[in-house]
């Protein structure tokens, strides 16, 4: 790898430990802290500030920034850079995310770690470019064709834009799968205080590189150095392993096996199971006031903020309302939601879309409690009082 992460230099470039910055900029900070050395992007509102921040900072920490010709090129260059040995990321919003879908699948199929920040705006199509939404929560899970697993985080605060971008890199590196930071125009364009974590508090996970004898190396199979690990050891280009990487169904050696059912099943099962096997370990949530709650908000991202405000208003009125915030939305915490559904009478799922994450909630919860979708679209967050209304009647 050409560009080595230099913690001292990164901190020099990032500046003061406590700052008041935009959510988009916080994704830049998170990327730099995680050691990103390549960013390929294309401007799009409300995500352009991520590219602008990278253009300003990456050359100063030894990384490379390229404004590509479109979002298809951006994600392509990002995947190429990862195979070239870099830690790489891109940032976009709805229309660009749609354009990235094919190569998002390529990254899944070729087990390429990379991070996509999606500062969601309203859709379909061009929608409301400057306004936030959460309309791509299903696209990130199902948007590319074929079977796959998604890794998707949803920050609610500007600080979390830093923390979750770091975490996205960690998950991506650990599982050799793309990971997405599903922020939105509201949080992306919000300024808040952030604290840059100290190096000693920063937990970074890096890819396990191939170390085995070159003749014995098998590029697309369970790890050859770790027991019971379905993530292959990673031999990036230029390390002498001479790996052939293809988006076609491939056998363990990486050679095309397009007409062989067992090869496809083995491959796709492994690349999904490497994540689903760990699903219970991969739960990242915040629980507030759930111990005695009769009603719970299940929420994520920007929407968690008015939901928390609504909960506080209700608590002051003596209503037993709690909140479960999904920090990692995909993989979906099935077991946790099932348990919650058994403990409460009603789950309310507020979203800035016409109801997306409410579906996986219903899938596991509807047998045990009432599940209500609380949608709001048009580029505005729910007002706390709008959510408070859903608590009536109990």
């Amino acid at each position: 790898m050409k560009c080595k992460r230099d913690p001292k230099r990164i901190r020099e470039v990032l500046g003061k430990k406590v700052q008041f910055i935009l959510g988009d900029m916080a994704c830049v900070y998170g990327g730099l802290l995680a050691g990103v050395s390549f960013f390929g992007g294309y401007p799009i509102t409300p995500a352009s500030e991520v590219a602008e921040g990278m253009a300003r900072m990456l050359p100063r920490v030894g990384g490379t920034y390229i404004q590509m010709e479109d979002e298809i090129g951006s994600i392509a260059a990002v995947i190429g850079a990862t195979w070239g040995g870099a830690k790489s990321m891109t940032a976009t919003s709805g229309p660009g995310f749609s354009l990235m879908m094919e190569n998002y699948g390529f990254a899944v199929m070729t087990e390429t770690p990379c991070v996509i920040v999606n500062v969601q705006r309203t859709g379909p199509s061009t929608g409301q470019p400057t306004l936030g939404a959460q309309g791509d929560m299903m696209q990130v899970r199902w948007g590319t064709h074929g079977d796959f697993e998604a890794l998707a985080l949803a920050p609610s605060t500007v600080q979390e834009c830093i923390d979750f971008t770091v975490e996205a890199f960690n998950l991506s590196e650990k599982y050799r799968n793309p990971a997405c930071v599903m922020t939105d125009g509201e949080v992306g364009h919000l300024r808040e205080r952030i604290i840059i974590p100290d190096e000693k508090d920063l937990k970074l996970i890096n890819r396990v590189t191939a170390t085995i004898d070159k003749k014995k190396y098998i590029p697309f199979t369970n790890s050859q150095t770790r027991k019971n690990c379905k993530v292959p050891d990673f031999a990036t280009f230029g390390t002498g392993y001479r790996t052939y990487v293809t988006g076609l169904t491939h056998n363990e050696k990486g050679f095309p096996a397009t007409d062989k059912q067992p090869d496809h099943e083995r491959l796709v099962k492994r690349i999904t199971e490497k994540i689903t096997d760990d699903a219970d370990k991969l739960v990242m949530v915040e629980k507030i006031n759930l111990d005695d709650a009769d009603i719970a908000f299940v929420t994520y991202g920007a929407t968690a903020r008015p939901a928390e405000s609504a909960m506080e208003i209700a608590r002051k009125e003596g209503k037993k309302v709690g909140l479960l915030r999904l920090k990692l939305v995909w993989p979906f915490p099935d077991k946790l939601i099932t348990k919650l559904a058994k403990d409460v009478d009603k789950i309310i799922v507020p979203e800035m879309n016409l109801g997306q994450i409410v579906h996986p909630v219903k899938e596991v919860a509807c047998k045990h409690c009432e599940v209500i979708s609380a949608p709001k679209i048009g580029g505005e967050m729910h007002l706390p009082m709008e959510l408070h209304k859903y608590l009536e009647g109990k």
Partner: protein
């Protein structure tokens, strides 16, 4: 190092074990281009651990699979964008893209245009067979007027792309077009293109008897290959005839496809410029620090 003299020795060194047989049909030109590339690499003596291949979708894009080197077989049309990332991660790599006319100039046209404009330091080897061969003979952006394809059953009414000409206009540092029946000039030219800093395009006109020749009644494989000899002319000869030739001679060559090196310049490549930018920032910072002290 053992000196390689025969094609067998060459293949033993450069081909990847376990990937045979190839997908290519009888009379296909792709293998020849691969062989030329091997000779060029052999003559350059490059460390193959440092040569990285990328490709998109189509017959030509399968070539990296047969090479004993790192290779990224990507999505349709996007290889050049992927290659840009590979090179960005490590500018010491020699990055070679194999692509076809449809992959490069159809679905991938925009990536091609911008990589050439940025002068990304990669070598694009584009094999032009006037057709989408792998998928059964659909219309390509390079298809000659009137030619038949499964999706142009009554003859092509679109004007074809001249991709080498396009690359020249985009300011690529090195642009050349060759056929597959005479090895010496193309191998020399490949060496030049590979060594060139900045963007290089090597276009190869290669017969596709299965999907193009058969449908366009170009005869058997031998006749089809002869078509290329009869319908191409060296750029220098063409220019000479156009300048000094008789009207009859001019009429004979005016529709022929020119071969040769069309552009060979030394514009600063993207990564050279990027390095300069990084150094400029460093100097500025050092100065600012000095001023503070």
């Amino acid at each position: 190092m053992v000196e390689i003299k025969t094609a067998d020795e060459l293949n033993k060194k450069f081909l990847r074990e376990g990937m045979w047989p190839t997908i290519f049909c009888n009379g296909c030109g792709h293998g020849v281009v691969l062989e030329y590339t091997f000779w060029a690499l052999e003559e350059l003596g490059w460390d193959m651990d440092n040569v990285i291949f990328a490709s998109g979708i189509g017959c030509s894009s399968r070539l990296p699979g047969y090479i004993n080197a790192d290779g990224l077989h990507t999505t349709h049309g996007r290889a050049i964008a992927f290659a840009t990332g590979i090179k960005a991660a490590n500018p010491d790599f020699n990055v070679i893209v194999f692509t076809g006319d449809g992959d490069c100039s159809g679905i991938g046209g925009n990536h091609f245009i911008h990589a050439a404009r940025r002068n990304i330091d990669i070598t694009v080897i584009m094999i032009n067979n006037f057709i989408y061969g792998m998928t059964g003979g659909q219309l390509a952006p390079t298809a000659p007027l009137g030619s038949i394809a499964t999706t142009a059953p009554y003859g092509n009414i679109e004007h074809p792309f001249d991709i080498s000409n396009l690359a020249c206009a985009l300011g690529a540092n090195y642009v050349a077009r060759w056929g597959v029946s005479h090895p010496y000039q193309p191998i020399k030219s490949l060496k030049e293109g590979l060594q060139k800093k900045g963007f290089s395009l090597l276009e190869f006109l290669a017969p596709c008897p299965t999907a193009y020749g058969r449908r366009n009644k170009l005869g058997d494989i031998k006749k089809h290959w002869a078509w290329y000899d009869n319908n191409t002319i060296l750029k220098e000869d063409y220019e000479k005839i156009m300048k000094y030739g008789t009207e009859e001679e001019k009429a004979q060559v005016k529709d022929k496809i020119q071969l040769g090196v069309f552009q060979d310049i030394q514009k600063s490549g993207f990564f050279e410029s990027y390095e300069k930018l990084v150094n400029r920032l460093k100097e500025k910072e050092t100065k600012a620090k000095g001023a503070k002290k």
